[in-house]
């Protein structure tokens, strides 16, 4: 076999997207799309469920605005006003689970919904109110009675199971590797007890910063749980570009953020390669990429601007939508918006911020 046709550099035949200069440096920032091909499409009729960290809420809102079927399995009461619904976390995510920051949290939520795990952690009494430790900020003050908290939790887990069985597409936004765990049975809490709700007790709770192997195991288990309930579902992982509010790891918060996001990014990539009908969508790269000069972050260098979300959703719809969305969901991003002036920040419900910002003020 002649080798003459193989003597050239193998990179020479690569497409433009493989080259930094052609794909990033010489491309207008607002149209940079760090995705090559989506493995599946989403139709307007597909039931799309979301869960994850604060950033996942942007996806939920834009999917609805785009005319896609955002799946809400725990919708509450139809007569309530929208602001009241949001206040009580109805429709913020596909069920009333609040922010799910870690892969272990997702895995345990699915296990609880399927009746495979019953955490030992009791409800938290907070004055006259009762809080569910696995979603302590799900409504203002908490529940008004133990009975209400218990019934609501049972209804919630039913809704999560219904969501798992009925969704067509599940989008999960990975947020953190740091978490607080019950020593008794390893149940993961969404926030540190004592920070906004609950009481901190080092005998009962311990800090964990998950390793990449653990996150991969947890995501794999969560996906297997989901596929058992719903074999044909499609899954998209994203990594939240929003940095940590605070770290308990002992490292600098910037370094801790890099560790956390790197681990999550690797784990998401592994899932996309390991499972069929499973994809990674690079919202993290779009927001944090140097090409935008940091303009997709607000002045706190943490929250994401409207322009950043516009860019993310433009790319999401372009690659994953089977048909174009309504214009409101994916407005074009004019170049002049990529400046540090006049940036609009979009409001989201963020339990991590709510709990740890208060701690920072006290420190």
């Amino acid at each position: 076999m002649s080798t003459s046709s193989h003597v050239g550099c193998p990179y020479s035949t690569l497409p433009d997207h493989a080259y930094w200069r052609k794909a990033v440096a010489e491309v207008a920032p607002e149209i940079i799309a760090p995705i090559v091909a989506a493995p599946f499409k989403i139709a307007r009729t597909d039931q799309v469920a979301t869960a994850g960290s604060c950033f996942a809420q942007h996806l939920a809102k834009r999917l609805q605005a785009g005319g896609f079927s955002y799946f809400v399995a725990e919708s509450g009461y139809p007569r309530m006003a929208e602001d009241l619904a949001v206040k009580y976390n109805y429709g913020v995510f596909s069920a009333r689970f609040g922010n799910i920051y870690t892969a272990r949290q997702l895995r345990q939520l699915f296990a609880r919904a399927l009746g495979e795990f019953v955490p030992a952690e009791p409800l938290w009494q907070d004055g006259a109110y009762w809080r569910d430790p696995f979603r302590p900020m799900i409504q203002p003050h908490g529940f008004e009675s133990r009975q209400e908290a218990e019934l609501d939790r049972a209804q919630h887990l039913d809704a999560v199971r219904g969501m798992m069985e009925s969704l067509d597409v599940f989008i999960f936004t990975l947020g953190l590797t740091e978490s607080w765990v019950c020593r008794a049975d390893g149940a993961v809490l969404p926030m540190c007890p004592g920070c906004g709700a609950g009481t901190f007790d080092p005998e009962k709770y311990e800090f964990r910063n998950f390793e990449v192997e653990e996150v991969i195991d947890d995501l794999r288990a969560a996906l297997e749980q989901l596929r058992r309930a719903n074999p044909s579902c499609r899954v998209i992982f994203t990594v939240s570009p929003v940095p940590l509010v605070a770290t308990y790891s002992g490292n600098h918060v910037l370094s801790a953020t890099t560790y956390s996001k790197s681990v999550l990014r690797v784990a998401a990539d592994r899932m996309a390669r390991e499972f069929g009908n499973c994809s990674y969508f690079p919202s993290y790269e779009i927001i944090t990429g140097a090409f935008n000069g940091g303009t997709y972050f607000a002045d706190d260098l943490r929250n994401v601007t409207e322009a950043g979300v516009d860019h993310v959703m433009n790319m999401f719809f372009r690659h994953f939508a089977a048909e174009p969305p309504n214009q409101a969901a994916a407005p074009s991003v004019p170049t002049q918006r990529l400046t540090r002036r006049g940036r609009n920040v979009l409001e989201v419900v963020c339990d991590e911020y709510a709990s740890l910002n208060a701690a920072e003020q006290q420190a």
Partner: protein, 287 residues
């Protein structure tokens, strides 16, 4: 000794019809003597609650509604033309606003939409909630559980115009204002469903009302909201449940004919309750 007249005007919705039959001078055994309660009532129309007492005109000006003003004229000893009546010389002036219970406002299973001027009732949801103060009222497991705090916030929002109207009225009205809470729901929906079907015969889908237990919970919440609003606006609240409620808190069956509204017997009992409550307050004030 001079016989003192405590004059009371009751102004309100359909429940007031029963009280309206009690236009009488009342000297009950519980009345402080020498005192007579003179009760006049004015039926303002179905669905009336105090929010209807204040209207906002297109030019942004607010004022008492024409119907309410007519009632006040009646109260003030003037007829509807503004001429003095023989009842003008009254010693004390008490205005009782009798609250009603509109089906669409108070039954969480009911909603309606306005289509070309006509209302169309829709039946979106069976909900339930835990009322910690009444553990004897069970939660139906097949209903959607809603946090009681959310339900309360929703009714507080519904009652916002009432709060606004009551606050404005308390400033404008020289006499003393009392709010008579609405009576509780009946223990059975049967008569109510018959009435509903007769009013809206063209409804295509089966009428579905909340269960009496859910309605009682809602009523207890709303009653408390109204009580809180009264406290905030400096208006006296008269709870009718000690008179109107049975052992479980439902509207006593002998007080209802149509499944919803208080009958004449209810009117008589509540008129006596008003007379003694207001009479005693009047006596206390004088001392």
């Amino acid at each position: 000794m001079t016989q003192e007249i405590v004059s009371i005007l009751v102004f309100g919705d359909s429940h007031t019809q029963g009280i309206a039959a009690q236009n009488f001078e009342f000297v009950g055994p519980d009345m402080p003597r020498p005192m007579t309660a003179m009760i006049k009532s004015f039926f303002a129309g179905a669905g009336f609650i105090a929010m209807d007492s204040v209207v906002t005109y297109p030019d942004g000006r607010s004022g008492l509604s024409p119907m309410f003003e007519l009632g006040l004229r009646h109260w003030s000893g003037l007829d509807w033309r503004g001429n003095p009546t023989t009842e003008g010389a009254l010693v004390h002036k008490h205005l009782v606003l009798s609250l009603g219970t509109s089906l669409s406002d108070y039954d969480p299973a009911l909603d309606y939409e306005d289509r070309s001027g006509g209302m169309r009732y829709i039946f979106p949801h069976d909900i339930d909630f835990v009322l910690d103060a009444r553990p004897d009222l069970p939660v139906n497991p097949s209903n959607t559980l809603i946090p009681v705090a959310l339900i309360r916030e929703m009714y507080i929002a519904i009652l916002a115009p009432f709060r606004q109207g009551l606050s404005a009225l308390a400033e404008e009205y020289a006499g003393r204002i009392w709010i008579l809470g609405s009576p509780p729901p009946a223990e059975s929906n049967d008569a109510k469903l018959r009435k509903f079907n007769s009013i809206f015969p063209d409804i295509s889908e089966p009428v579905r009302l909340s269960s009496p237990t859910v309605l009682l919970k809602v009523w207890l919440l709303v009653n408390q909201c109204v009580r809180d609003i009264c406290a905030e606006t400096g208006v006296q609240f008269i709870d009718c449940s000690p008179i109107a409620g049975d052992a479980r808190g439902f509207f006593r069956s002998e007080f209802i004919n149509d499944g919803v509204h208080g009958n004449v017997r209810y009117g008589k009992a509540i008129a006596q309750h008003l007379a003694t409550t207001i009479g005693k307050a009047e006596l206390k004030r004088q001392r």
